[in-house]
Symmetry: C2
Amino acid sequence: MEPTLRDPTDPLIDHAEGQHFLNEAFKVIVEEVLCKGTDATQKVCEWKEPDELAVLLDLELREMGEPRGRLLQRVRDVAKFSVKTSHPRFFNQQFAGVDYHSLAGRFLTEALNTNLFTYEVAPVFVLMENEVLRSLRQLLGWTEGDGIFCPGGSMSNMYAINLARYRLFPEVKSQGLWSVPRLAIFTSPEVKITVSNSHYSVRKGAAFLGFGTDSLILVNVDDRGHMIPEDLDEKIELSKSQGVVPLLVSCTSGTTVQGAFDPLDQIADVCGKHKLWMHVDAAWGGSVLFSKQHRSLMKGIDRADSVAWNPHKMLLAGLQCSALLLKDTSQCHGANASYLFQQDKFYDVNLDVGDKSVQCSRKADCLKLWLMWKAIGSNGFEERVNKAFVLVRYLVDEMKNRDGFHLLNDPEFVNVCFWFIPPSLRGKEGNADYPSRLAKVAPVIKERMMKKGTLMVGYQPLGDKVNFFRVTVFSPLISHKDLDFFLDEIERLGINL
Amino acid sequence: MEPTLRDPTDPLIDHAEGQHFLNEAFKVIVEEVLCKGTDATQKVCEWKEPDELAVLLDLELREMGEPRGRLLQRVRDVAKFSVKTSHPRFFNQQFAGVDYHSLAGRFLTEALNTNLFTYEVAPVFVLMENEVLRSLRQLLGWTEGDGIFCPGGSMSNMYAINLARYRLFPEVKSQGLWSVPRLAIFTSPEVKITVSNSHYSVRKGAAFLGFGTDSLILVNVDDRGHMIPEDLDEKIELSKSQGVVPLLVSCTSGTTVQGAFDPLDQIADVCGKHKLWMHVDAAWGGSVLFSKQHRSLMKGIDRADSVAWNPHKMLLAGLQCSALLLKDTSQCHGANASYLFQQDKFYDVNLDVGDKSVQCSRKADCLKLWLMWKAIGSNGFEERVNKAFVLVRYLVDEMKNRDGFHLLNDPEFVNVCFWFIPPSLRGKEGNADYPSRLAKVAPVIKERMMKKGTLMVGYQPLGDKVNFFRVTVFSPLISHKDLDFFLDEIERLGINL
Ligand SMILES: Cc1ncc(COP(=O)(O)O)c(C=O)c1O
Ligand SMILES: Cc1ncc(COP(=O)(O)O)c(C=O)c1O
């Protein structure tokens, strides 16, 4: 499409040509991403060094456009060199797998290209978001409340902190933090000796919202990473005695690395006693609420003031889909921009939800979850959650049966943290250089798997624990044989270390 | 899909069945959204009252899933009752039209479902985002710098404010606003007599980031809505004399309602004199930089410290696509979560961009823009921008030729603000009840067009100006005949008022 002197009365886009391209691109997507990308006999990633990949992709943007064939090849290349996150051997992150109903919802959302702003411009999505949030709240045991979909769990956590601040000191919205006493946010440490607990977004949020990271008061955790309610109580008393006003507790249902669930009921008692806002970061763990068998992990959730829950993680809704759920219904983010939210409309302007958000344009993140939910029902989600726990049990049992796999501890959720001990290190636990040698194992296995393209799983150090793997097992696409492969492949990659 | 006692060794999702559904859904999307939805002979919206629509959509989420045919009908219903934002008669927002290359990029992004986090998990997108940001910075006239895609321009503006605060007082990240003097943010008023200027996100941002909305110091504007640099200078001096530290000026290139461009060069002089961070909110207007003919509207942009630019608006990249561009390269958002960003990787960990963001999961918003840019080149964007200005000129000339259309003023950009004066009010400007009667015209025309489904355009009051329409003319899909229709239809709808 070169710039030519076209008649300005003509549109610049040809629908037939455009739809033809879209059709061809759709076929490439199905073939490369959905067929090959989920086929266990194909690679999960096609590793290239950054410099090499940059050349292969020819990323530079130029003055002139390119012909259709070249563009389709670009679609194919992007697919080819991207990681196949739906692949049954992708265990690297807190998302994996693909749900086709959700994906159809995502395509539809993109094609409709609207903004969750007013009822007028997004009638379907305004009503649908309300209904989806209501259904999520129902799982928390709340009969009323509010909520909003945010661009990720980190933002959801920030909203909660901001709302808590507003509830306690509404003047902060106009006068700023200078007008209020120092405030404290209580959460568990991100890294403490052997465990990881609260997500780093609480810290980032404290900085972004102007509190500063020193406002975080870290509550002790037990050896499995659960916040200790008695210590919370003491820390609250202590900060009060120092003239700081305790604002909020952010506890976690399903920590990022180890999948620990904080004891919500006891924390709620402490919050009740001190009148603190209780926020639960259930970004990762919230989905257990679908399971009658496992939802007791979150006993006490009905007592929270706010909950962050990411259906884009365990539920496969696809990035981004994160709900902030609120028990209280008083708003704080409104800017009352009368040029955007006119009050003299011919319908109920309470449906103009845009002013609830600190965003202005906001993607419709509800349809994909809604369509998937319609397709499989709450029962379908329950089955998936239960299955994940069964698979984790299988994996853990297999690890215990094999030499060389050493668990950090018995998993509470679908995160399994373990070291692979290569033969050369077995029985050498007492040696002085054991930890430093073990620390080098995971990075090398990781490099090998990436270059071979057979598997993806992440590792990290944590406090005094040297690099270990964390595998997340929840994709409904996987089966025992994928877990067998997982273990075999780790052994193959690490046997000679 | 009912829950049955399935063998846990089996996957829960059937790819063949899933892909079949996706194929069928794709056909519905093409037919309903892309064919009918862009066909001028079809409705732009299918208005239903909220209660009625809720019943039609049967939104409730239940225990049991539904069969394929029912789900496809749901896809069709969502499409049917949603507003067709790509329709040539949709002038309601700062987005409109459809670009098929961008849309293909969006489908591919959704299917790949990744997270712009580390090179390991998003190799293509990490490199691509860098390149797209570099190309956008080049248009600003910068040879180096940094940047990030944010979930919307409001977030981009907040990032800029946060970075400015960090540059001036790095200790604020740990110690919070209590540790620093009161800070002031300068911007033009959102509503001032006849003009609208800065976007309300600056105000929301000031509240969210803990400054409070009182930290905003409103700079006077001329009668077209341009910030007056001399007044900025005086306001800065004044706040200094009051012991407040001036932090940042947020000026606007392309205001939301009227499309005004602030005089950047003169504002840069004032910022230089006082060492203030100069942020330019070019969310809406930034795209003029593609046009040799029109980019002088943003003369001085190279002197800014940060720029927010939304390709999801005028460039048709699709929601969400918003870049924050930074001249400085020092980072502030990092949380250094070692469990997420391991330092002992086998590639350059500077490519692990996740820690730049206050988000954790972050959608890949670059591919759609990149693919569209590859398809039409910078020249293609230039042609689209130039064409928009030509169409605006045509519309304005037509309005001047017709009775009953009264412009607020001659447009500087692609926003055209006007009143429709129905015959019964013509020549009655002197009457005491004229403003109150005129105020009622736009809402009634709006209601009629929505119920008829022929057109969508927004209205608002502004200061002492009663309700007027703002039409944005930039979709490359439209032509003179769509603008003729626009005027004819407004006349038809308002003639008897
Ligand atoms: C416990 C927890 N909270 C919050 C988040 C952040 O969610 P998001 O990635 O959507 O910002 C995560 C995800 O990594 C998480 O595991
Ligand atoms: C001038 C201006 N700035 C910022 C924004 C906010 O951008 P977004 O809607 O992406 O948050 C808008 C959009 O309405 C705008 O017009």
